[in-house]
Every structure is written in C-alpha cells, then in structure tokens.
Amino acid sequence: MRAYERLQAARAKGRPGALACISSLFTDFYELHGDRLFGEDAAVVGGLARLGGRAVTVIGIEKGATTDEKLLRNFGSAHPEGYRKALRLMKQAEKFRRPVVTLVDTSGAYCGIGAEERGQGSAIAQNLMEMMRLSVPVIAIVLGEGGSGGALALAVADEVWLLENAVYSVISAEGAASILYKDASKAEKAAEDLKITAQDLLSLGVIDRIVSEQGGDFALCFAGLQAALAERLSALCALPPEALLAARYAKFRMLGRPER
C-alpha cells in the first residue's frame, strides 16, 4: 500500500482507538482522571490495568468512536491538561515501579486559544524531558495517527511500535502539501515524501517493531500485540534502571547523526 492509502486506513472510521485497544489488551482497567493543576482532558485516557499478572500504567489518546464521543474527546487532540495528566500518571508508575504502556492516536496536540494560554508547548516539553529519564520501562504503540509533537509527548519510550497501517509524522500530509508545495491537493505526494509509513520509520530507526494488523482482523491483531507486549515488558522489567535509561537515551541520541 502506498503511504497515502495507509494514511486513509489509519484515519478510517471503525478503526479501533485507544479505549478499544485497552479493553482488548488489558484486564481490570481502572481509569484515573485529572492533572491536579487545572482540569480533566478526556482526549487522554489513563489508569491502572493488568497485562497477564503484571500491573501496568496505561495511557492513551482517544479520538472517540461516535459523534458524541468525538466531541467529548476533542477528536483526540489533547490540551496541556491531557499531557500533564499523562505525566502525573507516569510519575505515579515510577513511584510504584510499574511499567508504562502508551497508545497513541492523534492528529496532533490541540491548536486553540486556551491550549496556548495554558502552555501547550511547555506541557509537551516537560513530557519529553521527564519521559527520557523515567526509571521504569515505557513502550509506546502508535495505533493510528502519530501526529507530531502531540504524539511524541507520549512516545519517548524504550520501544516505539507501530501498527502496520499506522503513520507517524512531523506534520499532516495536507499541511506539508500546502506549506511545501503550496498546493493542498498534493497531500498524496507529501505523504510519500515525508516517509510516514511503518516500514519507512523502521528503516529510519525511528520505530522498533511493526505490529501486523492480520488483514484487518483486529481481534487477532490485538492478541498478537498482547503477547508481544507481555514478552517485551518482562524483558525490559528485568533490566536495571540505569541500563534501561542509558539505552533509551542512546536510542534517541543516534537519530539524525551527521552522515559522515
């Protein structure tokens, strides 16, 4: 499939989002709300859950499946409170030595007046810094759209996985087309040029694993994902925190090294 077709698949109606994924992968999900600073952002869902016998902290960006849910979730575009809630839950996970799983599906952080007033840039920046040194394992899974800084704010992780048709990009294909090619109709070309597919990202070293979508059978897809997650969390939880953190730093540090 070409990049633009995958982008359509990643955005398709009916594709499972973070909540659907949580209920497939985990048991005993108990949602925790609020950033303790300003409010509750329903675009970000997070809480406690079990994966097999292991307690984990799970945090996802949820777009909403129905029209009502989409409005409630702001179409999966988080405000600063969403990122701050995520950081609060990650710090809590660190305190209780639980690994963290993040599920990313967002076209990007919200661009609005309130979001700017309350420090969208600052909220994302804090997450990037803190996640780099969070001393418990973090695995980030991009389920659909991984939109720019709003996705990265939950994806500074030991391992970053993408579902087969998910995409991860610095800017939307439409945005790139209108800015770089001065022609919004060239989104298809922009999607190709930006190298946003799972295979491209794996080649670039940006992601670590592609999760098969099993030809669209998401029950099967999530069963495979659950097994892989259980296995990798066990392996990462066995590492001393210093080794984990050194590897996480090195993973991002090598991205965009000079060519010679």
Binding site: A109, Y110, C111, G112, I113, A115, E116, E117, R118, G119, Q120, G121, S122, I124, A125, Q126, L128, M129, E130, M132, R133, S148, G149, L152, A153, V156, Y168, S169, V170, I171, A176, I179, L180, D193, L194, K195, I196, L201, L204, V206, L245, A246, Y249, A250, F252, R253, L255, G256, R257, P258, E259, R260
Partner: protein, 289 residues
C-alpha cells in the same frame, strides 16, 4: 552596574555590507511608524529608539552583543549536510540558506565569556530556513549540552524558530526528544540552563528546549507559541485576544520568568550566571551515561 557604551558591540555584518556606509539610510519602524537611521538602529542594538520595538538579529549579531570580545570558541562548526529523506528540493534549499545566512546550519554553538563568566552558548539563526529544527540543529544542541555537562558549564541559549524542518520529516520531530534528553542530563547534573526566547519562537522548539530552562527570559514583544496565530485562527475561527502569544502574555500566564530588554541582557545574564557559580563545582553523580 552601569552599562558602558563599549559593551554595545556594533553588529559588524550589516555595516560591512559591501564597504558602503548605510548609517544615514532611513527606515520606517513598523512598530511606531517613525523614521530611524541605520546608524541609530545599530547604536541602539536594533531596538527602535522611539517605541522600543526589538528587531530580529542574526546569531552573530547576538554573539557580538553578548559575549566578551574574542572569547567565543565555536563547536561543531561543520557537521556536513543532512538530507535523511532525500526530500525533493531540500538540498538546494540548504545551499541557499547557507549562502543567505553565512552559517552552516540554523544554530551556532560554542563556549564564551559573558562579562568574565564562562558559559556554553547557543544562538539560533533565524536567517537559516527560519531557524527550523533539522537533524544537525538537534545534533549541535545535543552535543553542546553534553559538552556543558562534561565541562560543568551552564548553558545560555537564544531561541528563534519557525518550528520543525519539514523536509526532514520524522527525524526533525525526533530532535525534540534528542535535545530534551541532553537538557535533562545537564539539569540532573545540577547545572543551570538559561533560555532567552526571541521573536519568533514557535512549534517544536517551543514544545521542547525553549521551555526547558531553569530560568526563562524573553525579549519584549516576542511571539512565543506552540501553534502560530494563523493556525489558531484557522482552527478556532475566533478572533485572537490583543497581545496573544506575545512575551508579555506568557509572563502574565506564568510561562516565563521575566522580560529582558536587549540592552540589559548582557548584564542580566552575567548576574544570573553569578548566582549559580557554585553549581559548577557541585558533584556530578547522575549524568553518567
């Protein structure tokens, strides 16, 4: 401390333009509409003497204003070129940016003395593809913070950026994480990072190292945003409040420590560095990656 006239280094680049003297050329200030001669503008550090509007500076002009003469030692001046996606037209754009700005990339890094105090320093170059964050910008910044951590130096950084370098796609985005990691290790070592945000600082730079300082200053009137005003207007279809996303707005909302006029920056930065002199001798027991 009184500012001495000699501290105002005349930014040489503009004056040496073809050997001609432009000092009597008149320019209309977009802030107040009054006419200013080029000479007045240089004398006043590119700040309008009538309304105080701060005009944009190149990285080298800032360096001349900030650092003690002859103290700057540049790091990683030449890291080659980066076009990780072989993006159509990018190689040519890079060539043009290099020619236009006289810099190898959109940030200048090194060490310097500020009124006798040693610091690591980065100055973003707005004339190089709008100070956008390419892989080499990220690499230079990560190396600077790592160097400062090793040498137990504070970091003073001036930001100006349109955000991501779209032609580098996802690798541009990854620089935000890479640099934030290096900032965090520097921070864990007990060292000071002082960020000075200048007009405009937006996008991925705002959502990473611009907002990660221990102390964050901004120039008067600087636009500081995650999403720029045009994007916000298009998304919300609302009229933006007066002064939205300007430095004064961020100060009021609690996201910067202070606004610092250009003419006070050198002494202010030196004074802030002096409060943290002890940090340089502190034990380093975290950042041992």
């Amino acid at each position: 401390m009184m500012l001495k006239r000699s501290l105002f280094k005349r930014p040489k680049i503009a004056l040496e333009n073809g050997g001609e003297d432009f000092s009597s050329f008149l320019q209309e200030c977009p802030g107040c509409g009054k006419e200013i001669t080029q000479g007045e503008l240089f004398e006043n550090l590119h700040v309008c003497p009538h309304c105080g509007r701060h005009f944009r500076l190149s990285a080298r002009q800032r360096l001349a204003i900030l650092a003690d003469e002859g103290s700057f030692i540049e790091l990683d001046a030449e890291l080659g070129e980066s076009d990780p996606l072989s993006f159509p037209g990018y190689a040519e754009k890079l060539q043009n940016a290099r020619r236009a700005s006289g810099e190898g990339e959109a940030v200048l890094t090194g060490t310097a003395m500020v009124l006798g105090q040693k610091t690591a320093l980065f100055l973003m170059e707005g004339g190089f593809m709008m100070g956008s964050m390419g892989s080499l910008v990220g690499e230079k910044l990560a190396r600077l913070f790592e160097h400062a951590t090793e040498e137990r130096l504070p970091v003073v950084g001036f930001t100006i950026s349109g955000g991501a370098r779209m032609q580098e796609g996802i690798l541009s985005l990854m620089q935000m994480a890479k640099v934030s990691g290096a900032v965090k290790l520097h921070s864990e070592s007990g060292l000071l990072y002082l960020a000075v945000l200048t007009d405009p600082t937006t996008g991925g730079v705002t959502a990473s190292f611009a907002m990660e300082g221990d102390i964050t200053l901004a120039e008067p009137g600087a636009l500081i945003a995650f999403a720029g005003p045009r994007v916000i207007e298009q998304t919300t279809h609302k009229k933006l409040p007066e002064g939205f996303q300007r430095a004064e707005f961020l100060l009021k909302n609690g996201f910067i420590d202070a606004i610092c006029e250009r003419k006070a920056q050198r002494e202010t930065i030196a004074a802030l560095l002096a409060y943290h002199e002890g940090a340089r001798e502190g034990e380093n027991d975290h950042a041992s990656l």
